[in-house]
Amino acid sequence: MRAEPVTRGREVTAPFSAKCDVVIIGSGAGGAVVARELSLAGHSVIVLEEGGYYTPAEYGAMTPSNSLRRLAREAGFAAAVAVGETPFISLMSGKCVGGSSVLTGGVCFRIPDPVLHEWSTELGLTDLSPEKLDPYFSEVERAIQVETVPETMRSRSTELFVEGADKLGIKMKSLRRNTHGCKGASRCNFGCPNGAKMSVDISYLPDALANGTHILADALVQKIEILGGRATGVFGKFLDQVTGEPKVPFYVRAKAVVVSCGSLHTPVLLRKSGLDSRHIGRHLTLHPAFRVCGIFDEYVGGWDGALQSVYSDDFQSEGITLVSAYSAASILAAGFPGSGKEHYRIAAELPRLGVFGGMIHDEGMGQVRRWISREPLISYRMHERDAHRMFKGIQILGKMAFAAGAREVLLPLFGSEPIARESDLDALTERPPSVRRFECMSFHPLGSAKMSITSEQGVVKPSGETWAVDNLFVADGSVLPTSIHVNSQLPVMAMSLRIAKQIAADFSRISRRAA
């Protein structure tokens, strides 16, 4: 990406104001797609990103902790407040130019047909059928170079995942990812060290920049200006170089405002700006994810190969997806049980460690609220059905690990000893431990400003425009009306492309309203 048009807000010392056709808040999977599409359509576009700007060479050289510190929200330590019988769920989302796309594993799925059938029939969102969304998915897939991960790129950890599945009769399929020239560094979640992941800072924003888009990093939007029932611009402040606190004010006047802050921040900005639909911030789904580790007698070296390369949808009807996974050595070691020598004993097994992952299709019991901080208060209540799904998923992964030859299995259960017998897994369903003891992660927060066919049912219209305010659009994961079973990067991009094309097609009407 050319560096010049990206303004580092931390270096701006004087108040800034500008005028454009469209101002986009957020430069991640949603905002970047909208920026490229609208700039290609000839509109003047400004993108405001709260996070910093780092080139692929810069973030590729960062250590995992440095990457979390510079590229992730809350330095990677964001979490949902558990309500009732709910596990502690850590939340990963990006805060940099490129957003979460810089920190994903690169996995690309289309929204499964059964989910789209539900949207287009039961929810009445007739334009979201598989056939009608197909062109958007195809266009994005070409732009981000979605390819099937070749078998030769599977790590030994993934091969063991597949061997375990084979022995239990579970079918595995190759994943698709947005990569070009992957060298199997297995650390996609911290920014690809080889620039091989086609995150939006590599695949989408360069075209937007080439077409005149201006990107301002370190730019915190504090409020959307709404006059006479329509959005007319945004107010905010550039963040201070030293303290990171808001300092130098800016104002951008625009005919249309597009909010692409992601499911955790879009609702906060909408509320701060005066929108008051009861659906704003509700219906948050997280796709709680978990991992089971197996310790094998053989050398595994799971860091050598693609981070994620296979999955199984055999249990999709039960709301469980199995996915091969790995992570940085330090992250894995942080999750090992025990303290002192016991912790170190297990950490020393790192070269013989296989990691098996899964996630569940949850029921949307989360909520995002504004509170005293710049960061939102996220609460989540796990549905009983989802807890059972998780128990079952963990049990399946444990059985796969033993079937693949693991001599010890580490469950994602705080305070649990490694188990050495498959029969110990049965206790998970016979005498279920408290759900609060489970270790969960979420990489796909969705649905907190959902799309609907009436203003009573959701926050945005099928076009992406809010029901409450004209010329104010939302284009990110928050508009998805339900959980989608699968990784959300490609769905967010395809939905955002659809919204961007509608804005472009309707721009003369938007301009007239803005006049």
Binding site: P64, S65, R70, A78, G338, H343, L350, P351, E439
Partner: protein, 139 residues
């Protein structure tokens, strides 16, 4: 806490622990004030916990290494969410930094950034290209 978590066969040096504190501080510095405030309160809770989990009327920081380790082991199995949370939050934070140290990773058997598996794909590609060239030559 770091000393109790990571002391293995050799004791951790004071310098290592000091460097460690600086690294942890640097890591969480960009987090929101509320998260940092929460982490501070959890640390204070941890410091007052010994009486509840091992029955010793002492601050955590004044305990012997052996007792500090015992507290951590009890916290990991605690049924009381705030106790468990204080342990999990700090263990994750500390481990993330501790196991990022190159010497530590080498001791664990991590080979560094070198990767071999992707070369299998390259060899396959090369093989396909050679076959194509041979096919073109014969036709």
């Amino acid at each position: 806490m770091a000393e109790a978590l990571f002391t293995n066969d050799e004791p951790l040096t004071a310098k290592r622990l000091d460097d460690f504190v600086i690294e942890i501080d640097r890591l969480i510095s960009p987090a929101s004030k509320t998260l940092r405030w929460g982490l501070m309160r959890l640390l204070e809770l941890l410091n007052c916990i010994p009486i509840f989990v091992i029955g010793k009327l002492s601050l955590y920081e004044n305990l012997s290494l052996e007792d500090r380790l015992k507290v951590l082991q009890r916290l990991e199995r605690s049924q009381f969410p705030p106790f468990l949370l204080s342990f999990v939050a700090y263990k994750t934070l500390l481990s993330l930094v501790y196991f990022e140290d190159e010497q530590e990773l080498t001791k664990l058997g991590y080979p560094g950034p070198a990767r071999e598996r992707y070369k299998r794909s390259l060899r396959l590609l090369e093989g396909t290209r050679e076959k194509d060239h041979a096919h073109e030559a014969t036709t």
